[in-house]
C-alpha cells in the first residue's frame, strides 16, 4: 500500500517537475555517452570522434529513449498534450494568414448559427411558461380544412357547460383602451378575460386574488388583475395596487390582484391590465371574436376532446341556426403551443437552414485550407516519422491543430453570437417569445457541438492522409507528395464542389426574397401616404354608452370635425375604422342576393370598413362608379361602397352597382345595396388582396375611429393643434397614437425587408466563402504545378493556354457544384412559396440569374490565380526544383 502511494507521489513529482526530471535524464544520457566514449578510446584505441560516434550508435535513438522514459513515468499523455498545444499554437501563429482566416470563418459560422439556435431554442424548443403546457389548447370554429375563426358567446357557454374533456375554458377579448388612474390617462393594451382564462393557464397573482367565476356575471362589480409593471409604475407598487380603483374604457374597475413580475403576456397576448369580461346572454350565434383557450382534463387527449367538441357542436349549433347556416362548422381544439408558434417555425426554419448552409460552407472552406497546410507540413511530418515519432503521436499533433482552431473559433463565435442575437432580436423575424432568447448553457453546448463538428471535419482528411501514407516515398518526392497527390486533389475539388452546391441554394433564397420584396415595395397601397397622419380616437364606453337612441358618439364627432378642419394647414379630414395598409378593423360575412352560397356552406367574408364623411377624399381614393355616402344613409336602407377588386371578384362581367346582399347573416334585416365602387386600398398588407366593403359610420357609430388628416404643410407642424382641437371637445380622451401614414406603409414591409437583408447577408457570406475556396484551391494547384507549367511554357504553351487550363479546372468544379446546388434549390425553395409575393419559388429567371452570378464570381476567382500562372518564368520555374 505504502509502495503504491510512493508511486503516486513520484508521478505527481514528475508531473510537477517535468522539466527538472527531463534535465536529470539529459544529464544521465550525457554521462553514459561520455563514459562509453572514454571506454572505447581506452579499450580499442579509437580516436575521440569515432568513439563518440560508436557510443551514439550503440545507445540507439536518444529521442526515442526519452519518450520511452516518459512513458515509463506515466505522465507522457499530459506532457504531450501541453506540448502538442504549445506546438499547435506556435505553428498557427507562424501562419497568421491561415489562422486568422480559418478562425474568422469558423467564428462567423459558429456565431451566426449559435444566435439562430438560441432563437430557435427560445421560440420553438422551449415550453410555454405554464404548468403542464401540453394540456393547453386553443379552440377555433372550423369549417373546411383551412377556414378557422374565433368563437362567440354561444360557443364559449356551450364549452363551459358541456365539455368533460376540458377542465377549464376561458375567453379573451383584447384591445387597447383608455385607462385612467389618478390624474393620468393613456391607452393601454388590455385583456378582457373570463375567470377561466387565468384558471386554464394556471397563472396566479403574487398579491391579491385572481379573477373568479362570480366576476364573470353581468352586473358584478368590475374588477381587474394588473401586471407588475403597471402596479409599480402607475399604482405605486404591488402592495398599494390591490384595492385601487382604475378607469378602464370609462368604467371603474377595482384592482384585485397583481401578476408576478415578468408576466406580461398570457397565451401570446400582451396586456398590462386583465379586466373581467362580462358577456351578455347571447341573442344570436354571432358575433364571433372571442379568443378561447382551454385546458385538457387530466387523462383527456386532444383527439378525445376533438371528438367531444364535434359532438357538442352538433347538439348546440342547430339551436342557433337562424343567424348562421354553415352546418360544416364545428368547434375544434388545437395545441396552444403549436398555435402560438404557427409561422414562427417557418421563418426560423428558413433562417436556421440558411445559417447551417453557411456554416457548412465555412467548414468546407477551412477543411480545404487545412489540407493545403497539411501538404505544406508534409516534409516536416515525414521527418518526424523517420526520427521515430509514432503514428498516434502525429495524429494527435494534427488533431490538436484543428481542435485549437475550432476552440478559438467557438469562443470568438459565442461572443459574436451574443452580438448577432441582439441584432436578430432588433431586426429579426416577428415571432413570439424571441425576446426571451439568450445565450445560456444550452446555447454554449450547441456552439461546442458545432465546434466539435468543425474540428472533426477540418482535421479528418489530413489525419486520414497521414495514416495511409508510407513515409519513404513521401520523403523522396519532397513536400508535394501529399497535397499534390491525385487523391488529395480530388478531395480538395470535392470541397470546392460542395461549397458551390451549398452556396447556390442560399443565394437563390436570398434572390427570391429580394425579388419578392422589390415587387412588394412597388405595390400601390391604394392611398397617398404623403402628408397624411392618423390619430386614433377611442371613446370610452363608460362615458359614451352608444346604445340605441344615444347620440353621444355622433355628437362628439359633430363637434370635433369642424374644429379640426379649421386648423391652419389641414387640407382634408376623414374618419375610418380601419388603418391601412395592415389593419382592416372589422370583418363581416355576406350573402349575395342574386347568387347566394349553397345551403350549409360558409358565406364569403371581406374587410368591412366603417367610414365617415371625407374618408376617400382625405386618403386620395378615387370613386370609380356610382356614388359615395350621403348624410341620408342612416341605415334604414343600408348601403355599402365596394372596392374595385371586390366588384371584379364577385361581378366579373357586369356592374356591381345596385346589387344586394344579406350582411352578417342577418336574414331579418333589410338587404344591403351596393351604391358605389372605389379604388383598391390594401388592408391586409401590401401583399394582400384589395377586397373591401365600406359601410357608413352613420349607420352605427363605432367607439374606435381613426381620424385621418391630410395636411398642406409637414404634418409635424399641424398635429399638436389638431390634438388641441380634439382635446377641447373632451380633454379626458388619450390622443397618444399618432401615425404618419408614410412611415406606416414603410413599416408594413419591415418583416420582408429584414428577412431579405438577413438572407442577403448569409448569401454574400456563402458566395465569398465559395469564391475564396476555389481561389485557394487553384492558387495551390498553380504553386504545386509550377514546374510543370514552366515546362509547358518552355515547350511553347502561351499564357492564354495556361490561363485556359487553370480556369477550366476551376470552373469545372464551380459548374458541377452549381448544378448540384440548382437541383437542391429547385427542391428546397418550394418550401419558401408562402413567404414570397408575386414570385414563383422556382422562378427560372431568378434561379438562372443567381447561377450566372455565382459562376461569374467563380470565374473571377479562377482567373486571378490563372493569371499568376501565366506570369511564371519557365526558366526560373524549372531551375527552382
Amino acid at each position: 500500500m505504502s509502495q503504491w502511494m510512493q508511486r503516486i507521489a513520484r508521478r505527481i513529482r514528475a508531473l510537477l517537475h517535468g522539466d527538472a526530471v527531463d534535465g536529470d535524464v539529459d544529464a544521465e544520457i550525457r554521462l553514459h555517452l561520455e563514459m562509453e566514449t572514454e571506454e572505447l578510446m581506452r579499450a580499442e584505441g579509437l580516436p575521440a570522434a569515432e568513439a563518440r560516434r560508436r557510443a551514439l550508435v550503440s545507445f540507439g535513438g536518444v529521442e526515442r529513449y526519452k519518450e520511452a522514459h516518459r512513458d515509463a513515468r506515466g505522465v507522457r499523455w499530459f506532457e504531450e498534450l501541453t506540448q502538442d498545444l504549445r506546438y499547435a499554437i506556435r505553428g498557427l501563429l507562424h501562419a497568421p494568414a491561415f489562422s486568422v482566416s480559418a478562425v474568422l470563418v469558423l467564428a462567423l459560422g459558429i456565431g451566426a448559427s449559435t444566435a439562430v439556435f438560441s432563437a430557435v431554442d427560445a421560440v420553438l424548443l422551449s415550453r410555454l411558461p405554464y404548468p403542464h403546457d401540453d394540456q393547453l389548447v386553443r379552440i377555433y370554429n372550423q369549417s373546411g380544412p383551412t377556414n378557422r375563426w374565433t368563437l362567440s358567446t354561444v360557443d364559449l357557454h356551450a364549452l363551459e357547460e358541456q365539455s368533460r374533456t376540458l377542465s377549464a375554458v376561458g375567453a379573451l377579448r383584447g384591445k387597447r383602451v383608455a385607462v385612467s388612474y389618478g390624474s393620468a390617462a393613456e391607452r393601454l393594451p388590455t385583456g378582457f378575460v373570463t375567470s377561466g382564462f387565468l384558471h386554464a393557464l394556471g397563472v396566479r397573482p403574487v398579491r391579491g386574488r385572481t379573477l373568479e367565476a362570480r366576476d364573470d356575471a353581468v352586473g358584478a362589480p368590475p374588477v381587474a388583475v394588473v401586471n407588475h409593471r403597471f402596479a409599480t409604475e402607475a399604482l405605486g407598487g404591488d402592495a398599494s395596487a390591490v384595492g385601487r380603483s382604475i378607469m378602464v374604457d370609462g368604467v371603474a374597475h377595482t384592482v384585485v390582484g397583481v401578476l408576478p413580475a415578468g408576466v406580461n403576456d398570457l397565451a401570446g397576448v400582451h396586456a398590462q391590465i386583465w379586466a373581467s369580461l362580462q358577456l351578455e346572454p347571447p341573442t344570436r350565434r354571432g358575433p364571433f371574436g372571442l379568443y378561447v383557450i382551454g385546458r385538457l382534463a387530466d387523462g383527456a387527449t386532444l383527439d378525445a376532446s376533438q371528438r367531444e367538441l364535434v359532438e357538442i357542436s352538433r347538439r348546440v349549433f342547430p339551436l342557433w341556426s337562424a343567424g348562421f347556416q354553415d352546418s360544416t362548422a364545428h368547434l375544434t381544439p388545437v395545441s396552444l403551443r403549436g398555435d402560438l408558434l404557427r409561422g414562427a417555425g417557418h421563418t426560423l426554419g428558413l433562417l436556421a437552414a440558411a445559417v447551417a448552409l453557411v456554416l457548412l460552407i465555412g467548414v468546407a472552406n477551412v477543411a480545404g485550407l487545412m489540407l493545403v497546410r497539411a501538404t505544406g507540413r508534409s516534409r516536416e511530418i515525414v521527418l518526424r516519422t523517420v526520427l521515430g515519432a509514432t503514428r498516434g503521436r502525429l495524429v494527435r499533433l494534427l488533431v490538436t491543430d484543428s481542435v485549437v482552431l475550432a476552440v478559438v473559433g467557438a469562443v470568438a463565435g459565442i461572443a459574436l453570437g451574443a452580438a448577432a442575437l441582439e441584432l436578430l432580436k432588433a431586426i429579426g423575424p416577428d415571432v413570439p417569445r424571441l425576446d426571451e432568447a439568450r445565450l445560456d448553457l444550452r446555447t454554449v453546448a450547441f456552439a461546442a457541438a458545432a465546434a466539435l463538428f468543425a474540428a472533426v471535419s477540418i482535421g479528418a482528411y489530413p489525419v486520414a492522409l497521414l495514416l495511409k501514407r508510407d513515409a519513404a516515398p513521401a520523403l523522396r518526392d519532397g513536400d508535394r507528395a501529399v497535397g499534390a497527390g491525385r487523391r488529395s486533389h480530388a478531395v480538395r475539388g470535392a470541397f470546392v464542389v460542395a461549397e458551390f452546391a451549398l452556396a447556390l441554394p442560399v443565394l437563390a433564397v436570398a434572390a427570391l426574397l429580394l425579388n419578392s420584396f422589390m415587387r412588394l415595395q412597388r405595390v400601390d397601397p391604394g392611398f397617398d401616404p404623403e402628408r397624411l397622419v392618423s390619430i386614433h380616437v377611442s371613446l370610452p364606453s363608460g362615458l359614451y354608452p352608444n346604445d340605441s337612441g344615444d347620440t353621444s358618439v355622433r355628437d362628439y364627432w359633430a363637434r370635433a370635425l369642424p374644429l379640426v378642419r379649421a386648423v391652419p394647414g389641414v387640407a382634408s379630414v376623414g374618419l375610418g375604422a380601419a388603418l391601412p395598409p395592415y389593419d382592416w378593423g372589422d370583418f363581416n360575412n355576406f350573402d349575395l342576393v342574386d347568387r347566394p352560397v349553397p345551403p350549409n356552406t360558409s358565406q364569403p367574408v371581406a374587410p368591412w370598413v366603417g367610414i365617415g364623411d371625407g374618408y376617400f377624399a382625405a386618403l386620395g381614393v378615387p370613386l370609380l362608379e356610382g356614388r359615395l355616402f350621403t348624410p341620408a344613409d342612416t341605415g334604414v336602407a343600408p348601403v355599402v361602397v365596394v372596392s374595385r377588386s371586390w366588384a371584379k371578384h364577385y361581378y366579373p362581367d357586369g356592374s356591381a352597382i345596385g346589387r344586394q346582399m344579406i350582411s352578417g347573416g342577418c336574414t331579418e334585416c333589410p338587404h344591403t345595396t351596393v351604391v358605389g365602387v372605389v379604388g383598391d386600398v390594401k388592408y391586409d398588407g401590401l401583399g394582400g388582396t384589395g377586397d373591401a366593403v365600406y359601410a357608413p359610420v352613420t349607420e352605427g357609430w363605432p367607439l374606435d375611429l381613426n381620424l385621418f388628416v391630410r395636411t398642406s404643410v409637414p404634418p409635424a407642424q399641424v398635429v399638436s393643434r389638431v390634438r388641441a382641437a380634439l382635446a377641447s371637445v373632451d380633454p379626458g380622451i388619450p390622443l397618444n397614437e399618432v401615425v404618419n401614414m408614410d412611415e406606416r406603409v414603410y413599416e408594413s414591409i419591415a418583416q420582408p425587408r429584414h428577412m431579405t437583408a438577413l438572407l442577403g447577408g448569409f448569401a454574400a457570406a456563402a458566395v465569398v466563402l465559395a469564391a475564396v475556396g476555389i481561389f485557394g484551391m487553384l492558387s495551390y494547384t498553380v504553386s504545386a504545378r509550377r514546374r510543370e507549367i514552366g515546362v509547358r511554357m518552355a515547350l511553347g504553351a502561351t499564357g492564354r493556354t495556361v490561363i485556359g487550363m487553370i480556369v477550366r479546372r476551376g470552373m469545372g468544379h464551380a459548374i458541377a457544384g452549381a448544378v448540384l446546388g440548382l437541383v437542391a434549390a429547385l427542391v428546397g425553395t418550394r418550401w419558401l412559396a408562402s413567404a414570397l409575393f408575386d414570385v414563383n419559388a422556382t422562378d427560372p429567371l431568378t434561379l438562372g440569374a443567381v447561377t450566372l452570378l455565382l459562376l461569374v464570381v467563380a470565374l473571377v476567382a479562377c482567373w486571378l490565380p490563372a493569371r499568376g500562372a501565366a506570369g511564371i518564368d519557365p526558366v526560373e520555374a524549372i531551375r527552382a526544383e
Binding site: 509502495q3 535524464v25 544521465e28 553514459h32 563514459m35 550503440s58 540507439g60 515509463a72 513515468r73
Partner: protein, 109 residues
C-alpha cells in the same frame, strides 16, 4: 549478426536487479557490469536499459540518487530497495525453474 544474444522478455529486469545486489551503480556501470559478467554476450541496448531502470524505479524495486562516481563525475546511482531484493529472489527462483525445465527438455533423448 554477432555472437550477442537477444534478451528474453522479462530477463533484463532480473539481470539489472542482479548487478545491483553487489552494490549501487550508475547506468553506464550497470551496462558495463552486465557485459563483463556475461562475457560480452549481453550487450544491453542502452535504449532498453534506461527505460527498464525507470520502470523498476517506478515499481519501487530500486531507487536512484545523484552522487559522484569513482571517476569524479556527477552520476545517478541506482540502489536496490528491500522490495527489490525480495523481487530479485522471486524472479531468480522463477528463472531457475524455467531454465531447468528448458534444459531438461533439451537434454531429453
Amino acid at each position: 549478426m554477432d555472437e550477442r544474444a537477444d534478451l528474453l522478455q522479462g530477463t533484463l529486469d532480473l539481470l539489472i536487479l542482479k548487478t545491483l545486489i553487489l552494490g549501487p551503480l550508475h547506468g553506464w556501470g550497470i551496462s558495463k557490469r552486465l557485459r563483463e559478467l556475461s562475457s560480452d554476450v549481453f550487450d544491453v541496448g542502452q535504449g532498453s536499459l534506461y527505460p527498464a531502470l525507470y520502470r523498476l524505479e517506478d515499481k519501487g524495486w530500486i531507487r536512484s540518487e545523484w552522487g559522484v562516481s569513482p571517476e569524479g563525475r556527477r552520476a545517478k546511482f541506482y540502489t536496490l530497495t528491500a522490495a527489490g531484493k525480495k523481487r530479485f529472489a522471486a524472479e531468480r527462483s522463477q528463472w531457475r525453474l524455467f531454465a531447468g525445465a528448458v534444459e531438461r527438455v533439451l537434454e531429453a533423448t
